[in-house]
Amino acid sequence: MDWLFYIIGPILLLGIMLGFVTYAILFERKVIGWIQNRPGPNQVGPWGVFQTVADIFKLLTKEDIVPERADQTLFKIAPIITFVPAFLVLAVIPFTDRIRFADLAVGLLYYMAISSITTMGILVGSWSGNNKYALLGGMRSAAQMISYEIPLVMSVIGVVMSAHTLNLTKIVAAQNEVWFIFPQLIGFVVFLIASIAELNRTPFDLPEAESELVAGYHVEYTGFRFAFFMLTEYAYIFAMASLTTILFLGGWQAPFGWTFLPPLIWFILKFAVIVFLLFWLRGTLPRLRTDQLMEFAWKVLLPLALFNIFLTAVLKEVPWIQTFYR
């Protein structure tokens, strides 16, 4: 029966992820609507529940336009290069101690490594469309994602030092007593900010800065190719929110020993808080500028992350406190 799990499981996961993307988009629009004293989408179906379904259906039935002067092959494969890593990273994420696919020893690094492939897809997609706005968006995106990958990786080193492992399941197990958000508060903040930047979301949504670059790297994309880029964006929200939950919020572990809810529900609750936070930020904050973005990554986040590593290393040797850092 094991092999059945490995065949049906990923398909199921893909289905779950697509369902999440569908309703995350709806939820995002609803949240931003509420923030702006609007009801949000409410026309298609009761409470607007079929809005995104209708949108996806619209995108799929749209004419597929490939610009004539575009690099045809690259233009067509770029959405795939972008999307595939977004799904690949889900392989190592343990949702509970039983629902997981690959229990990789280097799970955390695997996530970071695979997610960096997406940048290439975005860069290729932006370049191949032969559009200047898209090119600018792609360049911004690549620069941003490479710059923020460094604080992102650096910020989790504190967690790795505390948990003594790169394996995500063991990292969750190490948070048995205290979630890493408390001893690793600096790391958490840096990770959260860097992950928002990695996700290209407000206030770091420069690659698709609507008011400047019209739509950023996917200006030229239509129909289902465009849908792929959107899918990637939200699949990464799914992955990143899961990762944040696992690394800092204790994964599926119940707080205060409240085990009356099953682990999966706890995971989903924590996960939902992170997702809501992302949408909430989007409804509130303006956008940074490119140079400020870079300065922020290199001058603020990176030193902070390094300081966090140093602090963790020091505190690990202090009596009594070291129990939190183990």
Partner: protein, 151 residues
């Protein structure tokens, strides 16, 4: 950092405030009495003075008069009266100058059609557009009437 947190607090507070959206296509919008909507034309009152045609800034009104069938009535009576809503800007000047208030504004604002031809409204249509008619009309710009304020 504190400024960002304050902003976040405000947006969170707004999430529970009542919604302000009009449910427009489902519930019609109530327009105030003075709203300048599609005109209502009353042929019986028209004295074919042509003032509305002359004042119209976009020349969207055309009218013709004819001799009255009733020989007792002096002057002309209206024969055709058309407003082209492709170019009408609903500026209210025609109702302002009309000495008999034969043309008045209504609260109707739905002008969307599938054909441009439908925007060419004739006398019959305009005289049947008689719901939600504006109750008070403007102060007349003529000096003799300025004293009679209606507000």
């Amino acid at each position: 950092m504190f400024g960002l947190v304050k902003g976040l607090g405000l947006t969170l507070k707004n999430m529970v405030k009542p919604r302000v959206t009009y449910k427009y296509p489902h519930e019609p919008l109530e327009m105030p009495n003075r709203f300048r909507g599609i005109q209502y034309f009353i042929p019986e009152l028209c004295i074919v003075c042509n003032q509305c045609v002359r004042i119209c800034p976009t020349d969207c009104i055309t009218l013709t008069g004819k001799k009255s069938d009733d020989p007792n009535v002096k002057g002309k009576v209206i024969d055709t009266y058309e407003i082209n809503f492709e170019i009408c800007i609903l500026c209210d000047l025609c109702t302002e100058v009309c000495p008999t208030e034969a043309v008045v504004m209504t609260n109707h604002y739905e002008l969307a059609t599938y054909s441009r031809d439908d925007l060419y409204k004739d006398m019959e249509w305009l005289s049947q557009n008689n719901t939600l008619v504006r109750k008070e009309n403007t102060l007349h710009p003529l000096p003799k009437k300025t004293g009679a304020k209606k507000a």
